[in-house]
């Protein structure tokens, strides 16, 4: 079953045609990035999948259900540009939040949250307050929180946008490892070309006014998930990496010219 199927998707706001005729399928366990200039509708697209916006036309299917049902069933996890942690809860309590909302018992959700903190490498900070963590660590907590209900789909809206370059590259490697280990599909919004290329199986290039898909560029060899941060670093230095970066850049330019 596909994680996301969008057919002839259309979204209009009062004065803006945000999305026009979007056709996109995200397969099980696939990593797909959305890239494009501001106003191309990439965030709107993600929000429609998350059922935070209602489309004005076309169909949205998330994990084989309507977007609304997928949201109610917590079939997806979501992370925003801001970590959005609750300051008055400890780190582990923040990770537990989605489970608590869905009525999972205390002991069970604590166990699960501690597992996830282990996964994102923050076991030692379970009892800390979010304010005691760096921006990168807070974002890792937010990712752990998104993963808490074991979603089949992870929606990420520029989650590393506010991080410095070094932290950002480390987080990308972490995310690839986590996505590989959990087998979740990822729909990832970014405006960084190298980020999209390093992470994605496919890179969806979009253009604004109206928001359309100009081209879909194949990223790294499908299924080849480097599980070692060193390997991710090596990817950045290969010829294939630069070729893909160039392909995405040209697609973006084509979209801007059209």
């Amino acid at each position: 079953m596909n994680a996301v199927v969008l057919a002839d998707l259309d979204k209009r706001f009062a004065a803006v045609h945000a999305l026009d005729g979007i056709e996109l399928t995200v397969g099980q366990g696939e990593f797909v990035s959305l890239i494009g200039p501001s106003g191309c509708g990439k965030s709107t697209l993600l929000r429609v999948v998350a059922d935070l916006e209602q489309p004005t036309g076309g169909t949205v299917e998330v994990t084989g259900k309507s977007a609304r049902q997928a949201r109610l069933d917590q079939d997806y996890g979501i992370a925003f540009q801001q970590a959005g942690l609750l300051d008055w809860r400890s780190v582990v309590q923040n990770v537990e939040l989605p489970l608590q909302v869905h009525g999972v018992g205390k002991a069970e959700r604590r166990t699960r949250a501690l597992e996830l903190l282990e996964l994102v490498g923050l076991s030692d900070f379970a009892g800390s307050r979010p304010a005691e963590l760096s921006g990168g660590m807070q974002q890792r907590v937010a990712i752990a929180r998104a993963l808490a209900p074991s979603p089949k789909l992870l929606l990420m809206d520029e989650p590393f946008g506010a991080l410095d370059e070094m932290t950002r590259e480390r987080m990308q490697a972490e995310l690839l490892r986590i996505a590989g280990e959990t087998g979740a599909a990822v729909l990832f919004v970014t405006h960084s070309i190298p980020e999209a290329v390093v992470l994605s199986d496919r890179i969806v290039v979009m253009s604004p006014r109206p928001g359309r898909i100009t081209e879909i560029v194949a990223g790294r060899r499908p299924g080849a998930v480097p599980d070692d941060p060193e390997e991710v670093e090596d990817v950045r230095e290969t010829g294939a990496f630069f070729e893909t970066v160039t392909a995405v850049r040209e697609a973006l330019r084509k979209g801007a010219a059209a």
Binding site: G84, S90, L114, F125, A126, G127, L133, S134, G136
Partner: protein, 285 residues
């Protein structure tokens, strides 16, 4: 397991620096911030004493500090018992008004109709001069009960608590809002997990503002008849009997009572806010 520490270390180190900086400065400023007003107060008392005794000011105009001190000594048991009565009224009114203010604000935040009904009424209550209310309440409930004073205090307290709590409940960050929608949280869960805890610092600020106001309201309410067992009624009766030094002694006791409430409110705010933002219960690894 190795701990990814660099940033957190830097963070905690900078906190440490700040703390020690505050502490060392606090040592100096702490002393001077106590000494300066105390010294100023003593100076004022000395000048006051000189003006009255050397200047020969009539005692009905201004009694000497020594005369007031003498009265404080003589009336000490009465000061305590009347202070306890007024303080008790202020406390009961404060607790009731606080509970009512928080409750109304929570209801108003959840139910639109309640908000539309309650907000203008509470704001209008803020504009009521308690001077106008006190005699009415006294007549309504009779002059042999503490109820009228407590009601006056309650009305005075409800307003800042309501306004401050309502503001806190409105201050939800958009990202938290979206998160709770994405998590398919119910309205109740949304209120319990996000809005209420986020509003707590605001609630406590309301309490801190209301605490000294409660004492003022309790004292002023006594000026308008009713039982003669509190600080306010003693001030007015002593003044009416031209026992000015005694009146001043009760004024001094009122000031002490007001300061006690002010400090208690401040302490409560600090404690709660600090507990909320430091280590939570059951959050250890």
């Amino acid at each position: 397991m190795t701990r990814p520490t660099p940033v957190s270390e830097r963070h905690s180190r900078s906190v440490g620096l700040n703390e020690s900086a505050v502490r060392s400065r606090g040592g100096w400023r702490g002393t001077s911030s106590v000494l300066a007003p105390v010294g100023f107060g003593i100076a004022v008392l000395v000048v006051w004493q000189l003006v009255v005794t050397v200047g020969g000011l009539p005692s009905f105009l201004l009694p000497a500090p020594t005369a007031i001190a003498e009265q404080i000594g003589a009336q000490f048991p009465v000061l305590l018992s009347t202070g306890a009565v007024t303080g008790g009224n202020a406390l009961v009114g404060l607790v009731l008004g606080f509970a009512l203010g928080v409750l109304l604000a929570v209801l108003a935040a959840g139910v639109r109709v309640v908000s539309d009904l309650v907000t203008p009424v509470v704001l209008a209550a803020g504009a009521i001069p308690i001077v106008a209310l006190a005699p009415v309440f006294t007549t309504m409930f009779g002059s042999t009960t503490e109820i009228p004073r407590r009601l006056v205090v309650m009305v005075v307290v409800v307003v800042p608590v309501y306004v401050s709590t309502a503001r806190g409940l409105r201050q939800v960050r958009p990202v938290h809002d979206e998160l709770m929608v994405a998590l398919a949280a119910t309205r109740r869960q949304y209120t319990r997990f996000v809005r209420l805890p986020g509003a707590v610092p605001f609630v406590m600020t309301g309490l801190r503002l209301a605490a000294p106001a409660a004492v003022i309201a309790a004292i002023v309410a006594e000026y308008f008849g009713g039982l003669q067992n509190g600080l306010g009624s003693r001030i007015s009766s002593a003044a009416a009997n031209t026992a000015y030094a005694r009146a001043w002694a009760f004024v001094a006791a009122s000031i002490v009572l007001g300061l006690l409430f002010f400090l208690a409110g401040l302490l409560a705010e600090r404690l709660v806010t600090r507990t909320l933002l430091s280590r939570p219960p059951g959050g250890s690894s």
